[in-house]
């Protein structure tokens, strides 16, 4: 007979530390994206901001899951969806302004 409380605690611990480590890795990738966003070129900055919104959105979603902060989920969904859609729209805009 195995101990249910011990198993649940083990699973929670693995999930917490996995999510926490992944959040740190995403934050480091976000720093790289921030560096990219501060470059001079407009399209490069747009690419950096796009990666930064991804990093922020995923970090917020993980915060919602492991710390149960409910409002973080709404912010994360907004960042992930609007970040991607906004990147496509602005990229089209840059192409039309500068290329055609």
């Amino acid at each position: 007979m195995m101990d249910v409380a011990l198993l649940t605690e083990l699973a929670d611990s693995v999930f917490f530390w996995g999510a926490f480590t992944f959040m740190i890795a995403v934050a480091i990738a976000g720093l790289g994206a921030l560096r990219l966003a501060l470059k001079g070129e407009a399209v490069t900055s747009l690419m950096g901001v796009s990666a930064l919104t991804t990093a922020a959105g995923v970090s917020l979603y993980i915060i919602q899951i492991i710390f149960e902060v409910e409002f973080a989920r709404d912010t994360a969904i907004a960042l992930l969806v609007l970040g991607a859609v906004g990147t496509i729209i602005f990229a089209r805009l840059f192409r039309m302004e500068e290329g055609e």
Binding site: A11, F22, A25, V26, A51
Partner: protein, 160 residues
């Protein structure tokens, strides 16, 4: 104490396996064999826990959470690699370095969305799966639009 030791060993094993795959440049174990094997291990663990007197919902939740933790540990290596790449490739490599950076940000987006999809499936959070899948569908359009905008603006600058 046992929990912490298990977490460290499990995390290091997953991270080392992913790093080994990346260093080799191809799959150490083919995905067509690895994914069914992982699913079989998942089912066997659940059956083992049920036979040891654990209720079904607790057993599947425990195994799912350990699997989701493993997926997040696996996502650490590509994220760190992408961050190193973004810091490493500066402007001294010429104008075409943009496409390498576009690829690197694509890696960040893909890893994030795959972790959301499979982590969400394993912890039974369908909102996470839905957002991850929507994001996964949008990623190629984002990368293509950015590369397209850069290509045409660069041609324009060359003409000037």
């Amino acid at each position: 104490m046992i929990n912490e030791i298990f977490v460290i060993l499990y995390g290091l094993a997953v991270i080392a396996f992913v790093a080994w795959n990346i260093k080799k440049g191809t799959f150490v174990i083919e995905p067509s064999k690895l994914i069914p094997s992982l699913i079989i291990v998942f089912v066997l663990l659940v059956v083992f826990l049920i036979f040891n007197g654990i209720p079904f919902d607790t057993a599947i939740s425990v195994v799912g959470k350990i699997g989701a933790g493993g997926i997040m540990f696996a996502g650490v290596v590509p994220m760190i690699g992408a961050a190193v790449g973004l810091f490493r490739f500066g402007d001294e490599y010429g104008p075409n370095i943009f496409y390498a950076r576009n690829h690197i940000t694509g890696v960040i987006d893909t890893v994030a969305s795959l972790v959301m999809i499979f982590g969400g499936l394993l912890i039974f959070r369908l909102d996470l799966v839905a957002v991850g899948f929507f994001f996964f569908v949008l990623i190629p359009f984002c990368g293509n639009a950015l590369a397209n905008a850069y290509y045409y603006s660069y041609q324009r600058r060359l003409q000037k």
